[in-house]
């Protein structure tokens, strides 16, 4: 089998919606504790790539391996594999009929079949970690966007995943709420979590990213260390894109 520190492996991944080819041959290997920042213009396929890693989208060609398990194999139990992967979405997607605490508790209760008290202990600890212990009994519509997103991170962490995927998690936030979410993510990265982060937050990328990937038109155009890429982009397209977002 492959190297045990390999968390995510994409081999020649092709993905299309009808005639629209969104991913056109992606090869990527992500090892333990890496923080991979994915950048690129709108429609470049970066969010789609994340969604494919979590098997939320089927792919037409290639393979995706999570800790050596091929999730594109129809015999693989994707529900099992998804438990290793935490995902946080741009639009939070908290469950509006449940409190913050219940949002975090749901998966440990129903998927891991933990006892109510055990699930609640985990959830309360995580809400402390993301700085929202006093909001445990609030419903999502009583929370700010930043708070909702931090609950969403806690919810994903409750399954004790080996890796986390962040899909433009600060894009829907008011500017003053971005920092509180990024701080939680920074702490996670420093704790050694393997992370794939689709974002336009170059400050975050520079500070905690261990690798940066620039995608355009469904392919990886360039990859290097974030500081290196931001300072000296090699490709013309990368230069142009960074010129617009910096």
């Amino acid at each position: 089998m492959s190297d045990p520190t390999t968390m995510i492996e994409l081999q020649d991944v092709h993905k299309s919606y009808g005639h629209l080819e969104v991913l056109r041959g992606i090869d990527l290997l992500i090892t333990k504790s890496e923080v991979v920042v994915v950048i690129g213009p709108s429609g470049s396929g970066k969010s789609t790539m994340l969604r494919c890693i979590n098997a939320l989208e089927p792919i037409q060609r290639g393979h995706i391996l999570i800790e050596g398990i091929d999730i594109t194999d129809s015999k693989t139990n994707v529900n099992k594999v998804r438990q290793k992967i935490g995902m946080v979405f741009q639009s939070f997607n908290l469950f509006p009929h449940k409190t913050a605490l219940e949002n975090v508790m749901l998966a440990p209760l129903k998927v891991q079949k933990k006892s109510h008290s055990e699930a609640e202990r985990i959830a309360r600890d995580l809400l402390v970690t993301v700085g929202l212990s006093e909001k445990a009994d609030s419903h999502p519509d009583q929370l700010s966007g930043g708070q909702q997103q931090r609950v969403a991170i806690a919810r994903a962490l409750a399954m004790q995943p080996d890796m986390m995927l962040f899909d433009e998690v600060t894009s829907a936030l008011d500017p003053e709420l971005v920092a509180e979410v990024l701080n939680v993510m920074k702490d996670l990265a420093l704790a050694g979590m393997t992370m794939v982060v689709v974002t336009h937050e170059m400050g975050f990328a520079r500070e905690v990213g261990t690798r940066m990937i620039f995608m355009d038109e469904g392919v990886i155009v360039e990859e290097s260390h974030p500081r290196e890429m931001i300072a000296n982009p090699r490709e013309e397209r990368t230069k142009k894109f960074l010129g617009m977002v910096l």
Partner: protein
């Protein structure tokens, strides 16, 4: 002036004849247990069957989708009256002719079967619309936590969808109350049947007026309730949207457009 008075008197004598009202009212009240039995059984069966059909319609298994789609189309197109006559008289003739005695149904059973089968099709559409109104991000968030499709439906999507469908289901229920009167054609001794019978005896349509009043007394509070629930739901529905910023950034729009092109039940495995 005199003819107007005559007209008024005639109206009163034939539609609001006090003596006949007094005779009819207790008769109609006696039918209420039967009407309620028919109503409650049909409601429970049609809601359960409707929910199952709606889940089949949204399933990723093509035969299930096809079956549920065909069922809904057929029973939405089929007149309820025809359904009733078929289940009661039609099956009885088959049962009598072929010796399959179990096909000869008592009127109450036949009425429950036809009301349930037809209203299941209506409810299925209501449930389907309710489930589809829940943003697909909810299902994705649940699946990304490792929940199965069934778990995600049960703990995340359906609890939200139920809230959405309660007002339209209340409207279905109101229509069902009125449609129980169709069972009078298969000689079920419900409200309308009993009123018509009385009308024949007294040669006066006042019993119909009494029956009308009973139906209206039953339905008006429910009509009010439905519109109150609707208003309440529409006030509370902001909960699913983020409270700040907009998610309708170009990339989100693109993926939303793409989502509509996906085949039903496709996507999340």
């Amino acid at each position: 002036m005199e003819s107007l008075l005559n007209g008024f008197e005639a109206f009163q004598r034939y539609y609001l004849n006090w003596e006949i009202i007094q005779e009819t009212f207790p008769l109609l009240l006696q039918t209420l247990p039967l009407v309620l039995e028919l109503l409650v059984l049909s409601m429970v069966f049609s809601f359960v069957l409707g929910l199952i059909l709606s889940l089949m319609r949204l399933s990723r298994f093509r035969p299930l989708r096809w079956f549920a789609g065909a069922y809904v189309d057929f029973f939405r197109g089929l007149p309820l009256l025809l359904n009733l006559v078929f289940v009661y008289s039609g099956l009885a003739i088959v049962g009598a002719g072929s010796g399959l005695r179990f096909l000869i149904l008592p009127p109450i059973t036949a009425a429950v079967v036809s009301l349930s089968t037809t209203y299941a099709a209506y409810s299925a559409e209501v449930f389907r619309a309710g489930i589809e109104s829940i943003h697909r991000g909810q299902m994705e968030a649940a699946r990304s936590l490792g929940m199965t499709y069934a778990q995600s439906m049960r703990y995340v999507v359906l609890p939200q969808a139920i809230k959405v469908v309660i007002p339209p289901l209340t409207n279905e229920f109101i229509a069902l109350i009125k449609d129980t009167s169709l069972a009078s054609v298969i000689s079920l001794q419900e409200l309308l049947f009993t009123a018509k019978e009385k009308m024949g005896v007294v040669a006066n349509p006042t019993p119909l007026a009494v029956a009308a009043v009973v139906y209206v007394i039953f339905t008006i509070p429910l009509i009010r309730l439905a519109s109150r629930l609707e208003k309440k739901r529409d006030r509370g529905s902001k909960g699913t949207k983020p409270t700040d910023g907009s998610v309708d950034k170009p990339s989100a729009l693109v993926s939303a457009d793409i989502a509509t092109q996906l085949p039903k039940g496709g996507g999340v495995r």
